[in-house]
Symmetry: C2
Subunit: 354 residues, 2 copies
């Protein structure tokens, strides 16, 4: 008998949760039933799923009775509280928050990169940070062949990573500024980071802070990229460093990445071929046609786009590239649903219902 | 008798020319007379200068009769044609276009960095590229003490570098997109680069192309940063590489810069102190107060702002930083007027009138 899954989405009304529902409409995962969970405030709202009307329910521990796979994207504290409740009730959790990512018991998975890590799951699988995922899709095919000695990334991140309200904030600030409101009078309540003290306008600005500051004056977002890369690539010796910057883009994260490979024998055309052949990656690299990845054209696409691949001017084993992906899809919702698909393919979910 | 200069501004109606006039109102340079030159189309327009009304005149070779210092910012072809005419008539030219920058006979000057190069001038002095200038202000104090082995820069450049029309294009695209025009229907006629075939929207986007493509798939803008850095620092051994990206910011260029110094003995606090003491630079670096440079707060300021200074996670002599400046001021108009001030201080302009 074909396995059919009961799937729950936790945080169904958020920027990522909304996209999770879309991705579940398109997935090859055989679905029996979808349950949409959110805070009490959103309970009762209606959402269309494959032509059916689903009603959003308030998240409580019992919500997970009968659920086989639960996709979480409602913030770290919700995952901390409710993921164990879901696991207790037999569900496998795919968590899109940072809460469990660095837990040694929890696999951190990009399906194109380290699907085998799923076999070690004990009920919870973590979805990496959006900026990390697209970088992994672009770099893993290169690492596999030539090794990676170091990488330096500067990000150009969209505001949708901070939620729907951040998107509205960018739009209303942009309108106000164009209509003559001076920069110092623009209202800012969310960015750079909901959890920090001060807020700055993002419209027509660039903010070199994503998440709060941490050790050595790096932000948590920067540490996420550093630590998650080593965990996903299962290699602590890779030198990784990040500068994470928010720019006034609604969706689509861009990254300027410098890498140095370990082995001899690489060149630009071989690197390009590796990207062209890589699962989940699309090579967009033709300067004669001005073809390169762009945030605006990445929206609603599941792939990671790679271009501007150049050899370093001085370092033989150094390469530069420009990597773009829809942070709400491959960076979040799609990667989570892909993990669910892999769990099914690898038969790693035990059904709790008949 | 105190020297008083007749100063001409070529390209007086452009984004940079307008700022040159503002900077001439604030300069310590003793000015006898200001002459505003532009194309025939703009001739006759009135501009206020220190309370006086000046009338813009059509640029012709004879415009430079009686001019001591001519500030050019009307495009490379105008500089090519008219700078020699100005020099022939005894003026010293400060050229803001890229036309003469790599000419070995022409000094390329950031006054805080290499003022002595002005002594070699033969009538023309080149103003460096906007992105290069602010990087030089930030890095020269570090290079002087610890040497520079390499630098990798990713830029976040404002549209005003492409002129007033590019600023209007960003604003009208932003309004259209917010009002529901789909991305693929946004009108784009200027960016990424007026001289290239295709144009793409910049609103809510990031375009990894500034200027046209050149050798090894680097853009001219990227080569400018590489070559100009070596010329200004008078050291061809510095490894320099750039990725230049346009973002939806009106004014204020930001840069994520990685450097490796040559000598032992540096640390983050010493690097910060060097920046704090550097001429033209302002240290804005206090994560506990969320203090870091921002494009929006750099507008109309003459300084270069430096923050987010961190040691590399793995490389002892590696540092990361975030450098922001108003590209129309320090990146163009102010640096040009500063060069004129230096020429006066160093007595390098011979007056042609009594």
């Amino acid at each position: 008998m074909k396995k059919m899954y009961n799937v729950a989405v936790v945080g169904a009304t958020g920027a990522v949760g909304t996209k999770m529902i879309e991705m579940l409409e398109e997935t090859s995962l055989p679905i029996n039933q979808v349950k949409l969970l959110a805070s009490k405030r959103s309970a009762g709202k209606e959402v269309t799923f494959k032509g059916q009307t689903l009603i959003i329910q308030e998240l409580v521990p019992e919500s997970f009775d009968g659920v086989d796979i639960a996709l979480f994207s409602a913030g770290g504290s919700i995952s901390k509280q409710f993921a164990p409740e879901a696991v207790k009730r037999g569900a496998v959790v795919v968590d899109n928050t940072s809460h469990y990512r660095m837990d040694p018991e929890v696999p951190l998975v990009v399906p194109e990169v380290n699907p085998e890590a799923l076999r070690r799951h004990k009920g919870i699988i973590a979805n990496p940070n959006c900026s990390t995922i697209q970088m992994m899709v672009a770099l893993e095919p290169i690492r596999k062949v030539y090794g990676l000695d170091r990488l330096i990334v500067s990000t150009y991140q969209a505001v949708s990573g901070a939620g729907i309200n951040a998107m509205e904030e960018l739009k209303s600030q942009a309108l106000a500024y164009i209509n003559g409101t001076p920069a110092e009078e623009l209202e800012a309540d969310i960015l750079p980071c909901g959890g920090d003290k001060k807020h700055f306008p993002i419209a027509f600005n660039a903010l070199p802070q994503i998440d709060v500051f941490s050790d050595a004056d790096y932000t948590y977002e920067e540490w996420k990229m550093i630590n998650e890369t080593k965990k996903i690539m299962e290699d602590d010796s890779i030198k990784v460093v990040a500068t994470c910057v928010r720019i006034p883009v609604l969706s689509g994260h861009s990254e300027s990445i410098y890498i140095e490979v370990k082995e001899d024998g690489s060149d630009v055309s071989k690197i390009k071929q590796l990207i062209a052949d890589a699962p989940g990656a699309v090579l967009q690299d033709d300067p004669s046609q001005q073809l390169y990845p762009q945030a605006l054209t990445s929206i609603d696409r599941k792939e990671t786009f790679v271009g501007r691949i150049r050899q370093d001017v001085d370092i033989d084993k150094g390469y530069h590239m420009w990597v773009v992906s829809d942070n709400l899809l491959k960076g979040a919702a799609w990667n989570s649903v892909q993990i669910a698909e892999k769990l099914h393919e690898m038969d790693l979910v035990t059904l709790k219902h008949s």
